[in-house]
C-alpha cells in the first residue's frame, strides 16, 4: 500500500532560519505527531519511534532513520525512515525529500515530497484511510515545523508559536485526530463537487 504525497507549507520566517531548523534532525522528527528520536548513532543515522493511539488500538513503530543527503545549495534534505510496529504485524517506510524555498516578502515555504508505504495489518485495515491519515499527519507536521522555526525568533509571534508547541500532545491523539481526518475527508468531497460544477 503506497501513497505519494506532495505538500507545501507557508512559513512566516526567512528561508535561512527554516533551513537551519530543517538540519536539526531530532527537532524535525519532533514535529511529526507522536514521533521522537530515541538514539543518535551518527550524523546520518538515528533510531526513533512513532506512537499513535486510534480508538482502542495503539500502534507503536520502532525504526531507523537514515539521512540520504543534505544539499545546502538547494536547501534540500532527503531522508529514509523504516519501521516495524512493535507487535510485528505491520511495517512502514517513508522516503521524504524536504526543500526550503524562498517566497515573497522574505518569507519561505517548506516543500515536502514523500512516498509512504505500509505493509501488513495496517495496510489491510487502514488502506482506504491511508491517504487522508497521511495527509493529516503531514498537515500537523507542517504546522509544528512552522511554529518551531518561528519560535527560534523573538517577539509576540515567537511566544505564540512556543505556546502552541507546548500544547501539542506527546502522542498522536486518536479521537481528535480521527475527527480531523473526517473533516478533511468531508472537505475533499465538497472540493470535488464545486470543482465539477465550475467545469
Amino acid at each position: 500500500m503506497q501513497v505519494n504525497l506532495d505538500k507545501t507549507f507557508a512559513i512566516d520566517a526567512s528561508s535561512g532560519k527554516a533551513w537551519l531548523f530543517l538540519q536539526d534532525i531530532p527537532g524535525v522528527a519532533g514535529c511529526m505527531p507522536g514521533a521522537e528520536i530515541t538514539d543518535t548513532i551518527d550524523d546520518s543515522h538515528y533510531k526513533g519511534k512513532v506512537k499513535a493511539k486510534i480508538g482502542p488500538a495503539t500502534m507503536a513503530f520502532n525504526g531507523d532513520i537514515e539521512i540520504k543527503g543534505i544539499d545546502a545549495d538547494k536547501r534540500e534534505l532527503h531522508l529514509l525512515g523504516q519501521g516495524q510496529d512493535t507487535k510485528g504485524s505491520s511495517s512502514a517506510t517513508m522516503d521524504l525529500t524536504a526543500t526550503v524555498v524562498d517566497s515573497a516578502d522574505g518569507k519561505c515555504e517548506l516543500k515536502g515530497v514523500a512516498t509512504v508505504s505500509v505493509t501488513g495489518k495496517a495496510a489491510s485495515l487502514g488502506g482506504r484511510m491511508m491517504t487522508q491519515v497521511a495527509d493529516q499527519i503531514l498537515n500537523q507536521f507542517g504546522k509544528n515545523f512552522a511554529n518551531n522555526v518561528l519560535a527560534m525568533g523573538e517577539g509576540e509571534a515567537a511566544a505564540e508559536a512556543k505556546e502552541e508547541l507546548a500544547e501539542q500532545p506527546a502522542e498522536l491523539n486518536g479521537l481528535a485526530f480521527a475527527w480531523s481526518v473526517f473533516i478533511g475527508f468531508l472537505r475533499s468531497l465538497f472540493r470535488g463537487k464545486s470543482a465539477n460544477q465550475s467545469q
Binding site: 500500500m1 503506497q2 516495524q84 510496529d85 512493535t86 507487535k87 510485528g88 504485524s89 505491520s90 511495517s91 508505504s117 505500509v118 505493509t119 501488513g120 495489518k121 495496510a123 489491510s124 485495515l125 488502506g127 482506504r128
Partner: protein, 805 residues
C-alpha cells in the same frame, strides 16, 4: 372387499410413511442449528485446554534474521513459543501438500507471503496467547516481492522458493524456472492447430477469473488432545475429509493410525476451504504431543481470509474454431495459474489443474487442447474447489464465455448456437475429445424448457426496444455440464488412497437402524437424505434411521465431502450396503415363510410370497428373526458395509438464464430475473435440492458480483476483512426461480448425480454473460468479474455509455 384402488392407496400410504427417496423430508439437522445447539469445534471444551495463537509475517517476502521469544515467554501464563527451529528436530517444520509440494508449517528462514505463520504461542487462555504474540520480536530483511504471475517466469524474477530452487520437479512433472510449478497439457495439440488453420471462423478471448475465498461462516480450527498415558491422539477439527486427515496426521506425527482419532463435529460450511491441512492444525497437534494437554487453535476472520485456501486465480485464454453456421471445429484453452507461495492445490493427486479438461462443456467438439502453467507468487497458497469439482467452475466459465463470443462474432442467437453444438440425447454415453465419458444428458429439453418459461423471444424483443431507447438490458444464458463424484480409483486418488467412499449399516433387532458414512456433512443435510435412501431400500421409516459421520473411530474409511461426491459416491455406497442387507433379509424371510427365495418378492417395506396374498414378512419381523432364527449356516445379525468405487463420474447439467437492467450512469446492476433449471438425475429430497440450489446461486452471485482478493504491488492483501470482502445478505440477493428435468445417471445405483455445486458453477458465467449481453451492441465481448457497480461504471465510462444526452 378392498378394491384395487384401495390397495393402491394403502401402498402409497405405506410408502409415504417411510419418507424415502423423492420425499421433501424436513432436515433433521435444523432443529439443533436453529436453536443454537450445534456442536462446533470451538464448542469442544476439554479440561486443561491450552490455547494457540500464531505470530504472522507483515511482509510478503522477507528473510528472517532473528526471532526473540524472551519477552513472550516471560509473560505469565505462556507455556511455549515454538518456531521452525523447534520443529526441525521433529522434521515437522515443513509438511507435504495434497499436490506433491511442501509447505512451511512455521517459516523456515524466509517468509513467502503476508500473514505467513512464523511462530506459535501456547498459553493458558486465548487472551494471554494473543498478548504474547505481540511480544515475540521478529527481525525481517525485506526482499523483492513477486505479485504478478505474468512476471514469475521472467529471467530476472526474484526466486521465491529457495528450498525448491534446485528441484526439477515439485510433485507435478518437469518445470522450466525456479518459480514454475508445472505444465499440464491435455488433448491433441497438432490436430487442434490444424482445425484452427482450416476453420472458416476463429475467435479468441482473454479473461481473468479472480482469486476468491469460500469464506464459510465458521473459520478453521481444531482441538488436539494427546493422552501421554495411553499414547492416543484425539483431534477435533473442521475437516471435510476426516479420514484423510487421520492418515496424514499419523504419517506426520508417527502416532500409529489406530491411536489417532479425528472428529469432525458440526461444521459451519466448508465449500472446499476445509479440505486441506493448515499449519495451525499441525502446531496445535505438536504442542499437545509435547505438552501433554489439549491445545485449541481457532482462527479469526482475518487469518482465515488471509491464509487458508482460496479458489480460482486463473488467467485464461479461450479460442474457438468454427464454420460460418457456428458449428464448432476446435477448442483451445491456455491458462496461467497463480498458486501462491506453496502448491497446496486441493485435487486428486494426478490432476494438476483438476478437471479443467471438462471444458468442452455440453458441446460436441471434435478436437481440443488445454495448456496450463502453474507458478509461484508471494501470495497465500490455495486453489481449492470452491463449491465445485476441481477447476470445473473455471472450465465452465471459459467454454460458456467462448460460446457467447462466437455467437456475437457470427451474429447467431446465443441460444441457437448452443442448440447447434449440443451433444444430442442419442449420443450418450458420449466420449469427449479430452477423455471424459458423459454418462447421460438431455440438453435440448432443458434449454427449450427454460426458453419457454421466460418467454425468451419476448425478452429479446424487449431488449431491442430498450436498446433503441438507449437503455441497457442484458440476457445471460448458460447451458453447462458439470463433472462430479470423484472418482473412479483407476484415475483418482489422494496421496495414494483411491477416491471411493463408504457406508456401514446396522439394522437392530427391533427394526430401527444406524448407519455411518465416510463422508461428512457441512450443511448438505446428509443426516436427512442418507436416511431416505436407506428407508427406500430397506423399508424402514427414515425417522428410525440414525445417520452418523465424522468420527473416524466409528465411521468406515472414506474420502470425505467435496466436489459433490457425497451423493454420487457416498449415496451409492449407502444404496449398495442397504441392498446387501436386503439380500440377506430376503433369505431370512424365505426361511421364515418356508418358501424358496425365488418365490419371494420385495414390496416397499416387506417380503411377499408371489401369488399368495397375505403371506408376507415385514422388514421389522425379519430384523427380529435375524437375531434369533436364521437359516442354517447363516451368521446372525443384519448389517453390511460397502466401499463404493464408482465406475465413472456423474455429469449433472442445467440451463440458467439471467436478465439484468444496468443503470448506465451509476453502473448499478439490477438482476431482474434469474431462472435456474438443474438436472441432477434422480432427486432424493426435492426440498434440500431447492435449498442447495439457492445456496449455490447465492455464492455464485457473490463471486460474480463482488468477491475478489486483490494484492497491491508490495504483496499486501487488501481483501481480508468483511469491510472489503463481499458476503451477500438478504439485502443484495436477487429472487431465484428454480426448475428441473430428470435424466438419471445410468451407472449410479439410484440414478442420482449430485447437485449442490451446479448452481455455483452454472450461475457465475451466467451473470457475466448478462452483463456482456447488455453491452454486446457496443462491441463488448467480455468483461471481467467482479461486476460491482464501480467496475461496471468504469466499463461504461470507458465506452462513453454514461454520457448524458
Amino acid at each position: 372387499m378392498a378394491t384395487a384402488e384401495d390397495r393402491v392407496k394403502a401402498d402409497i400410504e405405506r410408502e409415504d410413511a417411510l419418507q424415502g427417496i423423492g420425499c421433501s423430508r424436513k432436515r433433521k439437522e435444523d432443529p439443533r442449528f436453529v436453536q443454537g445447539k450445534g456442536t462446533y469445534v470451538d464448542d469442544v471444551k476439554l479440561p486443561g485446554t491450552l490455547y494457540a495463537d500464531l505470530v504472522r509475517s507483515p511482509f510478503a517476502h522477507a528473510r528472517i534474521k532473528g526471532i526473540n521469544k524472551e519477552k513472550a515467554l516471560a509473560l505469565p501464563g505462556v507455556h511455549a513459543v515454538l518456531t521452525a527451529e523447534d520443529l526441525k528436530p521433529l522434521n515437522l517444520h515443513w509438511m507435504p501438500t495434497l499436490a506433491g509440494d511442501v509447505q512451511a508449517v512455521l517459516a523456515d528462514e524466509k517468509v513467502h507471503m503476508q500473514y505467513q505463520e512464523v511462530a506459535v504461542v501456547i498459553a493458558d487462555d486465548r487472551y494471554i496467547a494473543a498478548d504474547a504474540v505481540d511480544l515475540v520480536e521478529v527481525e525481517y530483511e525485506a526482499l523483492p516481492v513477486l505479485v504478478d504471475p505474468h512476471k514469475a517466469l521472467d529471467p530476472d524474477a526474484p526466486i521465491l522458493r529457495e528450498d525448491a530452487e534446485d528441484k526439477d520437479n515439485v510433485g507435478q512433472g518437469p518445470r522450466k524456472h525456479p518459480n514454475h510449478i508445472f505444465n499440464w497439457q491435455v488433448g491433441d495439440a497438432e490436430a487442434t492447430e490444424r482445425a484452427f488453420d482450416e476453420a472458416e471462423v476463429t475467435v479468441k478471448q482473454e479473461m481473468y477469473y479472480p482469486r476468491v475465498h469460500p469464506s464459510p461462516l465458521e473459520t478453521c480450527g481444531c482441538v488436539a488432545s494427546f493422552d501421554k498415558v495411553n499414547g492416543k491422539l484425539d483431534v477435533y477439527i473442521t475437516s471435510q475429509a476426516p479420514h484423510v486427515v487421520r492418515t496424514v496426521v499419523s504419517m506426520l506425527s508417527g502416532v500409529p493410525e489406530s491411536k489417532v482419532r479425528i472428529v469432525s463435529p458440526d461444521i459451519g460450511g466448508g465449500f472446499g476451504n476445509k479440505v486441506g491441512i493448515y499449519p495451525g492444525y499441525v502446531t496445535a497437534i505438536v504442542a499437545s504431543i509435547v505438552i501433554g494437554r489439549p491445545v485449541k487453535w481457532i482462527e479469526d476472520r482475518m487469518e482465515h481470509l488471509s491464509t487458508t485456501a482460496w479458489a480460482r486465480d486463473y488467467w485464461m485464454t479461450g479460442e474457438l474454431a468454427a464454420d460460418k453456421d457456428g458449428r464448432i471445429k476446435g477448442l483451445k484453452v491456455d491458462v496461467l495459474a497463480d498458486h501462491g507461495a506453496f502448491n497446496s492445490h486441493a485435487q486428486p493427486t494426478k490432476w494438476p489443474a483438476g478437471f479443467l479438461s471438462i471444458c468442452t462443456g455440453s458441446y460436441d467438439i471434435p478436437v481440443a487442447h488445454v495448456n496450463v502453467d502453474g507458478v509461484y507468487t508471494n501470495k497465500s497458497p490455495g486453489g481449492v474447489a470452491y463449491r465445485c469439482s476441481f477447476r470445473v467452475t473455471e472450465a465452465v466459465y471459459v467454454i460458456e464465455r467462448m460460446m457467447d463470443v462466437l455467437a456475437q462474432k457470427l451474429g447467431i442467437d446465443k441460444a441457437e448456437i448452443r442448440r447447434r453444438n449440443f451433444v444430442k440425447p442419442e449420443q450418450f454415453p458420449y466420449e469427449t475429445c479430452l477423455g471424459w465419458e458423459l454418462d447421460s444428458g438431455d440438453y435440448h429439453t432443458a434449454l427449450d424448457k427454460v426458453l419457454a418459461a421466460v418467454d425468451y423471444e419476448g425478452l429479446r424483443k424487449e431488449q431491442a426496444e430498450k436498446r433503441a431507447k438507449g437503455e441497457l438490458m442484458g440476457i445471460g444464458l448458460v447451458t453447462f455440464t458439470e463433472v462430479v463424484g470423484a472418482g473412479p480409483s483407476k484415475n483418482c486418488d489422494i496421496l495414494g488412497v483411491g477416491m471411493f467412499d463408504s457406508a456401514e449399516i446396522r439394522v437392530h433387532p427391533t427394526g430401527s437402524a444406524i448407519a455411518r458414512m465416510g463422508t461428512i456433512t457441512q450443511g448438505q443435510g446428509h443426516q436427512t437424505t442418507y436416511a431416505q435412501i436407506i428407508a427406500s431400500e430397506l423399508g424402514i421409516p427414515s425417522e428410525e434411521i440414525q445417520i452418523e459421520e465424522g468420527d473416524t473411530d466409528t465411521a468406515p474409511y472414506g474420502l470425505g465431502t467435496y466436489g459433490s461426491r457425497s451423493t454420487p459416491v457416498g449415496g451409492a455406497a449407502t444404496a449398495v450396503a442397504a441392498r446387501k442387507i436386503r439380500d440377506k433379509a430376503r433369505k431370512i424371510a424365505a426361511h421364515l415363510m418356508e418358501v424358496s427365495e425365488d418365490d419371494v418378492e420385495w414390496d416397499i417395506d416387506r417380503f411377499k410370497v408371489k401369488g399368495v396374498p397375505g403371506q408376507e414378512k415385514t422388514m421389522k419381523e425379519v430384523a427380529w428373526a435375524a437375531y434369533n432364527n436364521v437359516p442354517e449356516g447363516m451368521e446372525m445379525g443384519l448389517e453390511a458395509v460397502d466401499y463404493y468405487d464408482p465406475p465413472n463420474f456423474t455429469y449433472p447439467f442445467g440451463t440458467y438464464l439471467c436478465v439484468v437492467d444496468i443503470d448506465k450512469y451509476t453502473g448499478v446492476v439490477d438482476i431482474r430475473r434469474f431462472y435456474a433449471l438443474d438436472d441432477c438425475g434422480t432427486r432424493i429430497n426435492p426440498m434440500i435440492i431447492e435449498g442447495q440450489v439457492h445456496g449455490g446461486l447465492n455464492e455464485g452471485f457473490a463471486v460474480a458480483m463482488g468477491q475478489e482478493m486483490p494484492y497491491d504491488e508490495e504483496g499486501n492483501l487488501l481483501g481480508n476483512t468483511f469491510m472489503d470482502y463481499f458476503i451477500p445478505t438478504f439485502v443484495e440477493t436477487p429472487h431465484w426461480e428454480t426448475d428441473y428435468t430428470v435424466t438419471p445417471s445410468p451407472h449410479h445405483p439410484l440414478g442420482a448425480k449430485g447437485v449442490a455445486e451446479s448452481p455455483h458453477v452454472g450461475s457465475i458465467p451466467c451473470f457475466t454473460a448478462a452483463i456482456v449481453d447488455a453491452l454486446a451492441h457496443l462491441d463488448v465481448t467480455h468483461v471481467d468479474m467482479p461486476h460491482n457497480a464501480y467496475r461496471v461504471w468504469q466499463t461504461l465510462h470507458e465506452l462513453g455509455a454514461d454520457k448524458r444526452d
